[in-house]
Amino acid sequence: MLQRLSHLLGTENLTREQIAFILDQAKPFQEFQRHPLKKLATLRGKTVAIAFFESSTRTRISFTTAASRLGADTMALQAESSSLKKGESLIDTVRTLEAMRPDGIVIRHASSGAPEFVAQRLEIPVLNAGDGTHEHPTQALLDALTIRDRKGKLEGWNVTILGDILHSRVARSNIHVLSKFGVKITLCGPAMWVPRELEKLAPGIRVVHCIEEGLRGADVVMVLRVQTERIHEPALAPEEYISQFQLTPARLKLAQPEALVLHPGPIVRGLEIDSAVADGPQSGVLEQVTNGLAIRMALLYHLIGGAPADAPHPAKDRTNASD
């Protein structure tokens, strides 16, 4: 049995076994999404604080739905409405949250390291929903689950990540997950967004700046969106990006015939990806969304609730319960 996780701050420090465990545990929750009645009482009475200090609709809804389907209540904290906008420090927000005593916190923040900051100061499980340009662990886990389901396994594929890698937490988290499964990773994009130093992030990475070379032989293509909100310097003109790096049907043909196309969303059609590809048979985008719910339910289930580790077991014999 794996050592219990007390937080999920990133994928960098997860072992291969832990990742496989999380993917396996997502399966019953994938199955659960097909039930007519999608409401469990598993986390009834628990409260999950959904603290999003950076705007996001999809991920926030995904986490809120996951918590809610497990029967938990949610406490929503959004930057626009919270005092954070008025200059209240993260530490004061943390203290406020602590006083409200949620059973777990899901946090998205514009500063890399913010979830770790919170986890060091609170006794409650913290789940990173995306911090700055550092990690977005649940995205990488749902991407891995999607690859595993579609391609039959996770090991040994050629995966190309396409786009602005430098500013992408999704790319980093995926690199940490995939490299542990012997995946050969190709990072492809404009040189200013894909510095060669990225090859040092994990074993099995190569950097290329030409899309044809990047796509050749790929079994999976992960398309990233262009991060306009995180760049300090002048951006690349969209026409330049499109002409050099957009994933078009013609370019997709350079990859393996059954190559899987993934995108973390939201998709900007006509910029990083052509609509025909996004909606085509090789696209796994819709499964990513369902898998996101399953992964997040599995993580909330395992991280939240339960007695403290040293609590005595209930008196009645549990070995006659289904084991």
């Binding site: 420090s89 390291g113 340009t133 300090h232």
Partner: protein, 421 residues
């Protein structure tokens, strides 16, 4: 009269390394010799200890006026005394900026009233350090500054640097520059490298510093001025400085203890590892140590930068740059440089005494008639540094809780023992 007895007197300036006694009368050294007469004198027994000329810190932030929440001249100098420093050069980025004689005078007066060690102010190079007009440098010189700098920022343009240099040279003032290129710095929070990529923190390439060092050295060549590179942190900068020295330019430089100890790999998200210039790559750190050993680097300076705890207890991005330095400087020098065999003890003492003195155009030595400033330290005493015990108002040190072998044991300023462990 104070007699410092039985200590190993180590004075690079006088080339002394022997067991000697030092007699102090008033604020001056009156005699140095073996087994001096001990009758009717206050005695400090320095047996087993090293007695060096009083250490000078070329670079510290005392925050007063305006930043008293983080430090004052009184608390900062108390901390400096605990570190064995007898003199601190305080940078002008106070509120208001020390860019005119009345601010300089107020610092000097405050230091006379409440300072525990000597305080030698550094005046701003430009008004408000805004990089536009020259500050009132000659008036400040009369009021007591020992150098000029716009520290916190680089001197804004090559043109301005040239003007500052031309102006300061006849005044005999060195120009100290915090070297950085604003366009490359742009929002960065740590050294650009594999670790900044992994942590998702905006990186500052090493070239940001060396480009500016190169620029300043060109201006020094043009003007013949005395240029001192503050808190140098890269091998690229060191290469420029070495070339300048070979060409007999009056260029000097300093390195901080955190830069010869830590690297960018030590950064996780703890804001006690965030300072400017940021922690460098391992290769740069090692190059700096080589430069300390071979004489290319003139001084160790702390860049003691206190920030009150609440201001540092934020996300890494938002935290101010800076860490404490006075109390750990000598111990780090002994542990990282001398104990590891990279430098001799004499060389280390040079970096705290004759090196900084030369930058300021002074002498620092133990001889009759010299000011009675001494740093008495042990190379054996084991202790643990705890910021909670520090007289500083701030706690931002990456070395909190670290154990050392070697410590300042007593600090003598103008003939008085201002600190005793």
């Amino acid at each position: 009269m104070l007699l410092i007895r039985n200590g190993r007197v180590l004075d690079p300036a006088m080339k002394t390394d022997a067991t000697l006694d030092i007699l102090i009368e008033g604020d001056r050294i009156s005699r140095v010799g073996p087994e001096l007469d001990a009758r009717d004198r206050e005695i400090f027994d320095a047996r087993g200890l090293i007695v060096a000329p009083g250490f000078i810190d070329l670079h510290g932030h005392l925050r007063e006026p305006g930043g008293e929440m983080s430090e004052t001249i009184e608390t900062g100098t108390k901390s400096a005394a605990r570190g064995g420093f007898t003199a601190v050069c305080c940078m002008p980025n106070t509120q208001p900026v020390n860019d005119n004689a009345s601010v300089t005078r107020s610092i000097v007066e405050r230091a006379a009233a409440a300072g525990i060690v000597r305080v030698w102010p550094i005046g701003a190079a430009s008004l408000g350090s805004k990089g536009e007009a020259l500050a009132e440098i000659s008036a400040m010189k009369a009021a007591g500054i020992v150098a000029v700098s716009d520290d916190g920022k680089p001197v804004a343009t090559a043109r301005l640097m040239r003007q500052v240099m031309d102006y300061c040279t006849p005044l005999g003032l060195p120009v100290i520059d915090h070297c950085e290129d604003p366009s490359l710095f742009a929002g960065g929070v740590m050294r650009e490298g594999p670790n900044s990529l992994k942590l998702g923190l905006q990186g500052i390439p090493a070239a940001s510093e060396s480009i500016c060092v190169g620029r300043d050295i060109e201006m020094a060549l043009l003007t013949g001025a005395r240029l001192h590179i503050a808190h140098m942190s890269t091998s690229g900068s060191l290469a420029y400085v070495r070339a300048a020295k070979r060409n007999k330019l009056r260029v000097t430089c300093e390195v901080t203890p955190h830069h010869f100890t830590l690297t960018d790999e030590d950064v996780r998200y703890d804001t006690h590892y965030k300072m400017n210039p940021p922690l460098a790559s391992r290769a740069d750190r090692d190059a700096l140590i080589a430069g300390l050993a071979d004489g290319s680097i003139d001084a160790i300076a702390t860049d003691h930068a206190p920030h009150h705890p609440a201001s540092k207890d934020v996300e890494f991005d938002r935290a101010p740059f800076g860490v404490l330095g006075f109390e750990t400087a000598l111990a780090l020098g002994l542990t990282e440089l001398v104990d590891s065999g990279k430098l001799s003890l004499t060389r280390l003492v040079e970096l705290f005494t004759t090196g900084p003195a030369r930058v300021l155009g002074l002498e620092r030595k133990i001889a009759a008639g010299e000011p009675a400033d001494l740093t008495i330290f042990s190379t054996e005493h084991t202790w643990t540094y705890r910021t909670a015990d520090s007289p500083s108002k701030s706690r931002n040190s990456p070395f909190d809780g670290r154990s050392f072998r070697g410590a300042p044991m007593a600090t003598v300023v103008a003939g008085r023992i201002v600190y005793r462990r």
